[in-house]
């Protein structure tokens, strides 16, 4: 795009830029339509044609709708997934873990995916917690589950930070209290016994130990909605480890932890005082003993990789749609042969050749536009269904909805295929009138 146009566009509000782009995408079909239909009233004959070929029209429209719906749905879904994963990681500014795979550490800390990662020890954790730029540092303690949902140990401060205010109840204050995620079945006052391990690997309860739910999280759109958050101390205790505090501990859960009695954590979740502070900490804790990562950065690297896939997907979607439309147009060419007597009649009555051209073209474009419109609706439906499935399976809230890029894609598709529809329309002009008239 020339710099001047790009400059002009960049000065506009985003919605106006998107609307303009959609209009530009639709411009070819609008211009062709204006030129082809100028001076004619094809409406009544077009409607007669659609009624006469009702089933053919329905099948052709459905084919276009399905191809567009699948293409648009996939692209919207991919974006929804990207946004969902980014939203889920929003609260996790900086994660400090033992050196290893950044992705594994992120999956474990942010998305609560079971994984075996090394722990960071008490002195290292204390160093992180004491950093002048650290506003909030919380350990994570994994290992238990209830009803296949993870039971994650952490601190009251982390619960307050993650929830931004509980939906119900209060934050845990003792080792036997728990907070239920927004999508868990338990409510305030319910009790549950944690199982060691998770899923198929669950190995049974820790004796008679039970938690009582004292608060419920609001929806965060992350796997934490499906988890129970409990004091890290109790997770460590029930596994026979030190509970993070010295012998003279008063029993109030949460920071500060005593490095001597700190059993280790797979990750320290950090909120720095400022963005600059976060970078300072990230630089300082990228050492041979620790790895500091921004989940947002790791995600965007993953998304960049997905971006390439998205481009391939977009191209494949367009190619599929164009192929379907070419098939439909080929069908239309055959159809125009069936309609040849009627078109010849119009010519014999004195209709200009351009009238038959306009009639055939507008018939094709009606199917294309109807197919595109239905395809968008189908795309919305598909994304809702797939989003629901992904949300249920990954616990990452995916709320995919159609965006401007899909509308631009469909706009370009309509224009491109409207151009292709000129071919069958042109073929009607070359047919022999007398022979067609005699059938």
């Amino acid at each position: 795009m020339p710099d001047a146009v790009a400059g002009l566009l960049s000065g506009l509000p985003l919605w106006m830029e998107d609307t303009l782009l959609l209009l530009v995408a639709l411009l070819p079909v609008l211009v062709i339509g204006a030129l082809v239909l100028r001076g004619f009233a094809v409406g009544p004959l077009l409607s007669a044609l659609l009624r006469r070929q009702a089933w053919v029209s329905v099948v052709f429209t459905a084919l276009i709708a399905v191809s567009i719906g699948l293409g648009v749905g996939l692209i919207a879904q991919e974006r929804g997934l990207r946004e969902g994963t980014a939203r889920a990681a929003d609260k996790f500014e900086l994660v400090v873990a033992a050196p290893g795979s950044e992705i594994t550490a992120m999956l474990a800390a942010v998305y609560l995916q079971p994984s075996a990662i090394p722990l960071i020890d008490g002195p290292t954790y204390a160093q992180i917690a004491a950093h002048p730029n650290a506003e909030l540092v919380a350990p994570l303690a994994f290992g238990d589950s209830y009803d296949n949902a993870p039971v994650v140990g952490s601190t009251p401060a982390f619960v307050e930070y993650l929830s931004e205010g509980l939906a119900k109840g209060r934050v845990f204050a003792t080792e036997t209290e728990a907070i239920a995620g927004a999508r868990t079945p338990l409510g305030v006052g319910d009790s549950f016994a944690p199982q060691h391990g998770r899923g198929d690997a669950a190995e049974g309860a820790h004796g008679d130990f039970e938690y009582q739910v004292v608060g419920r999280m609001p929806m965060t759109g992350s796997p934490w909605d499906q988890a129970y958050i409990v004091p890290a101390e109790s997770v460590w205790s029930v596994h026979g480890l030190a509970n993070g505090h010295g012998p003279d501990w008063d029993g109030s859960v949460g920071a500060p932890f005593d490095p001597e009695y700190f059993p280790g954590t797979p990750a320290a979740l950090v909120k720095a005082d400022t963005l600059g502070g976060a970078y300072v900490m990230q630089a300082q804790f990228n050492t041979d003993r620790t790895m500091a990562l921004f989940p947002g950065t790791v995600l965007s690297r993953l998304h960049a990789l997905m971006g390439d896939i998205r481009q391939v997907m977009s191209i494949l979607a367009v190619v599929t749609q164009v192929l379907v439309t070419v098939g439909v147009l080929a069908g239309l060419m055959m159809l125009t042969r069936l309609l040849s007597r009627r078109l010849a009649l119009l010519r014999a009555l004195g209709a200009p050749r351009r009238f038959n051209f306009a009639l055939t073209w507008s018939y094709a474009v009606t199917l294309i536009v109807a197919g595109a419109g239905l395809g968008l609706a189908l795309g919305v439906l598909l994304t809702r269904i797939i989003s629901g499935v992904i949300t249920a399976r990954t616990d990452i809230l995916v709320t995919a909805s159609l965006g401007w890029s899909e509308l631009h894609l469909v706009g370009a598709f309509v224009s491109l295929t409207a151009l292709l529809a000129l071919i069958p329309a042109w073929l009607t002009m070359t047919r022999p009138v007398v022979r067609d008239l005699r059938g």
Binding site: G39, F40, S47, R52, L345, L346, G350, A351
Partner: protein, 229 residues
């Protein structure tokens, strides 16, 4: 409205492979005349009519309607002439079944200049009423009988105020009473408005009602015979 005269000279129409299928050395039809064209099947009657309408381009010769030689025009020019000056009636009514009687009768309005569309529609409505179809003008055309459908086709040919009506076997697909009624309607409507009517037909009823009868024999147009003063 006044019909226009036709003067044909040295007309030759060739078919596939350049074979001559029709010749008309000399033919004149006065403005406002009602002419029947007769001849055996395959003699070239319809070809003559199609050439007169400009649907077929002749290999040589002149087809002059008033001052306009349509043989010298290209396809677009001949279609424009048809649009402005010719109403065509086919052997089979050839209606768009999904459209109403009025929709078919006023179909030429769809590609006529915007200023003429209202007039064509009003004419079609008036003519349908004159032919007894005014009450059911909004009914789908495929719900009408054969005779009624052909009357709708006649209205379609007349609604645009064309000074020339060309009809190809307009009564061939009708039973006797309907054929007679249609022949009467066609002649009356053409004469009332002073249009030039040329009808290809095997039907003696139509020949009897015409001012002139032209014979086409073995692809050659004979000199017309005058029937009525």
């Amino acid at each position: 409205m006044t019909g226009i005269a036709l003067a044909i000279s040295g007309l030759e129409v060739r078919g596939q492979g350049g074979r001559r299928i029709l010749s008309a050395p000399h033919l004149e039809v006065p403005a406002g005349a009602a002419v029947a064209v007769r001849g055996p099947s395959g003699a070239g009657k319809s070809t003559l009519l199609y050439a007169m309408a400009g649907i077929i381009a002749p290999a040589q010769g002149r087809i002059v309607w008033g001052d306009t030689d349509i043989a010298g025009r290209d396809d677009r020019g001949r279609a424009a002439f048809r649009r402005e000056s010719v109403g065509f009636i086919f052997q089979e009514h050839l209606l768009f079944e999904e459209l109403s009687a009025l929709g078919n009768a006023a179909i030429t309005a769809l590609y006529a200049p915007r200023r003429d569309r209202r007039r064509i529609r009003d004419n079609a409505e008036g003519l349908l009423t004159r032919l007894g179809l005014g009450e059911s003008a909004t009914r789908r055309s495929d719900t009408f009988s054969g005779g009624e459908r052909q009357r709708i086709a006649v209205v379609r040919a007349l609604a645009g105020d064309a000074p020339v009506i060309l009809a190809d076997e307009p009564t061939a697909s009708l039973d006797r009473p309907n054929a007679d009624a249609l022949a009467d309607d066609l002649m009356r409507l053409a004469r009332d408005d002073g249009r030039t009517l040329i009808a290809v037909s095997h039907d003696p009823a139509l020949h009897d009602r015409a001012d002139h009868v032209i014979d086409v024999v073995d692809g050659r147009v004979e000199t017309p015979e005058v029937q009525h003063a």
